[in-house]
Symmetry: C2
Subunit: 431 residues, 2 copies
């Protein structure tokens, strides 16, 4: 790139997959990135845009000349264009929509009419269908005559006269059967339809749970409007997992390609909430200033109780948040899981109470101090187990994503209870 040798660059990038080119652009600094885009010119592949991290798309699209952008977008499949448009601001959206042919634009505007994050946005509109009375031979002849079959498809969907899907047949079955076999006899057991308004998270769950390969999408009248394939579901699944992981850590929709000011802005609110809860914990400590003044050793041991409680709470919480996401923690076993977490907290609490009690006695030569920290440890680990599983369940019931808010709540509870139990017991037992 530095040598501005366009031919050598094209030769080097020719065998690269668009996803790898997108990764390359993400890893470059802004200067070299723009020079690379300028050098590529009309050889810029539209699929690179789909593969790019959302944070960078606007920048890269802004760097493309209108003619290159038109070229790049026209070559994309309709569901990739929808995905691209979702992340862009109005002026860029208009520019891209304007560069499409009229039928494409109408199809895409129809897809965009479904709610964000719904099956309707995820699906592709191109489906291979067959009337329910067709035979294998009819289907093969139809496909040979078709000019615009989808790039990838795995099933032929059988529809009734009102265009409602009644089942589907795998291509493998069609190919391995005689021409006279009715398609109806080859229907798969695993057939499921998906409502266009279903949340994409539920779609991904259904694909993962039932090992679906593709599933027809239907409108409110059960009419076929599109199809979702496993590769789309895989992308949603991996995005949902990433989202949960980042939310649990108190990071929003962040990526390694974001710029410094973006990440500062994104992390600030989470840290601010954390500051609020930390001050809450400090207020608890402040109630016991006289106890702390009398026994400074308490200030030394204080963070141990808080840290153990926070960790144990995070353990319970993560398992619970994950189990809610995979539908393994439901109303019917919630009570049993809560009981189990509390018992586990009690058992680990007793184990660590003994350990830390002994450490406290040896370190400070004060048996009562050992008793105080041991008791505080038991209380805090039981509360951690309880809060760790109960808060995600309650947040989920309240319609809040448990990954979003659980972390802060759980550590606030363990900090407050930990400091209160430890210093409160110290005040009673030691003074």
């Amino acid at each position: 790139v530095d040598a501005e040798d366009r031919d050598a660059l094209l030769a080097a990038m020719e065998p690269m997959h668009p996803a790898d080119i997108a990764d390359l652009l993400e890893q470059l600094d802004e200067g070299p990135r723009h020079r690379l885009i300028a050098l590529l010119g009309h050889d810029f592949d539209g699929e690179v845009l789909s593969e790019l991290d959302e944070g960078l798309r606007e920048e890269v699209i802004a760097a493309l000349s209108p003619a290159v952008l038109t070229d790049a977008v026209r070559k994309l499949e309709s569901d990739d264009v929808v995905d691209l448009l979702e992340t862009l601001e109005e002026p860029q959206k208009e520019a891209i929509l304007g560069s499409l042919t009229r039928p494409d634009r109408i199809a895409i505007e129809r897809a965009m009419s479904f709610p964000d994050g719904s099956a309707g946005r995820l699906m592709q509109r191109e489906v291979v269908t067959a009337p329910e009375h067709w035979t294998v031979g009819d289907a093969i002849d139809f496909m040979r005559a078709s000019l615009d079959l989808p790039e990838q498809f795995y099933h032929i969907v059988l529809v009734d006269p009102r265009y409602r899907p009644i089942g589907h047949v795998t291509l493998g079955k069609v190919m391995s059967s005689d021409r006279v076999t009715p398609l109806r006899e080859l229907l798969e057991d695993s057939f499921r339809t998906i409502p266009a308004t279903q949340d994409e998270e539920d779609v991904a769950y259904a694909f993962n749970q039932y090992h679906l390969i593709s599933a027809p999408v239907v409108d409110d009248n059960d009419r076929l409007v599109g199809v979702i394939t496993i590769d789309d579901a895989m992308i949603v699944l991996s995005e949902e997992n990433e989202e949960d992981l980042l939310l649990l850590a108190g990071v929003g929709d962040e990526s390694i390609a974001d710029r410094t000011l973006q990440i500062v802005r994104q992390r600030f609110p989470w840290l601010l909430v954390n500051l609020g809860t930390a001050i809450l914990a400090s207020l608890v400590i402040a109630q016991f200033e006289d106890v702390l003044a009398a026994v400074v050793a308490l200030a030394v041991l204080m963070p141990i109780v808080a840290s153990m409680g926070g960790n144990a709470g995070t353990q319970s919480m993560t398992v619970a948040v994950r189990a809610i996401a995979t539908r393994d923690l439901t109303g019917s076993n919630a009570w049993r899981v809560v009981r189990r977490e509390v018992t586990a907290g009690l058992l680990n609490g007793v184990a660590f109470a003994i350990i830390i009690g002994i450490v406290g006695v040896i370190w400070f030569g004060n048996v009562l101090l050992g008793v105080v920290i041991a008791l505080a440890m038991v209380i805090n680990l039981v509360v951690a187990g309880l809060a760790g599983v109960l808060l995600p369940i309650l947040l989920d019931k309240a319609g809040v994503d448990p990954a979003l808010a659980s972390g802060t709540f759980v550590t606030t509870v363990t900090d407050v209870v930990g400091f209160f139990a430890f210093l409160g017991l110290a005040g009673i037992i030691l003074l």
Copy 2:
């Protein structure tokens, strides 16, 4: 189940997918679970075993009579049996292998000879192949004549005379082309082979990155030995994501179906490590007992610095661990990411220094105390950013899964640095 009405039970469970039956078994208590299994008898579906959580498999298999187990396992596909065997202890393994027919047993033992977690374990051995000179008509005739085609397949793999894959054709292309078209003209661009010894994590990455649907698996001599399909890759991807999430929270391979003692045992070592690092932080505080004794307010504010550092460190760390897992953080952009994290830590550090400094001054009416906590905040957030991104990178370089160990290391660093900076500065400025 309680009424022991077998017919009603079978009628109720008939439409249920094996994955849903497995979920049901997971949510039941041990007593009802065993009664349900006993009631089902020979109608117990082998696929339920594959869908069951690993922690419960042994218990359920032990609850099945040998005859039922044999029946159940014989109906499974070979890769499901391999997956099942991987999680079982020797005696149960032997029982299942013994229940298989001889050719099945040999096939499965061959698959088990590949390393655990490798592509060889993940693949299915049944592949549809064609010599490179075949036409569409040859392929269709061959498939019509075949009796045991795989349940699901998406591509026909073209092989050379030495059985090395040279490309593949989608079934859709085969069906939509004339009988005389050579298969060779229909080859897909996206063709990639996978070495049998490749780690399944890398396999899942390749499927996700290059949007693969299926990929042939080859041995050391590039000969075709099997095929991996996107649904296998999707399962691995979701397992890997789950593993990272749980590891980051200091929980091992835990599930909501585990029993209390299992989870106590699993969480204990992580809490023990945390206790060790918490004591390390306490030792730092102990060095400043005289400072704390002089200004008790320090003990009140201490947890704020530690908590903010821990949170900021976790944010940087999670983004870094995730980016390493998705190959977005590599040697070539590591330095830039480190610089960005440090700058972000500095900016958020300054912002929170101002906030907490003002809070400190108002709360305790001591300007110098506000200065101390403000300075400590800046130092700790910068260190948190640095440690959060540097430790995962170094662990990854050292060959350790960064999700496993980063969490503890990062909070240890932020605790130790936070307490040292805060109390050290207090000793210098306030005394």
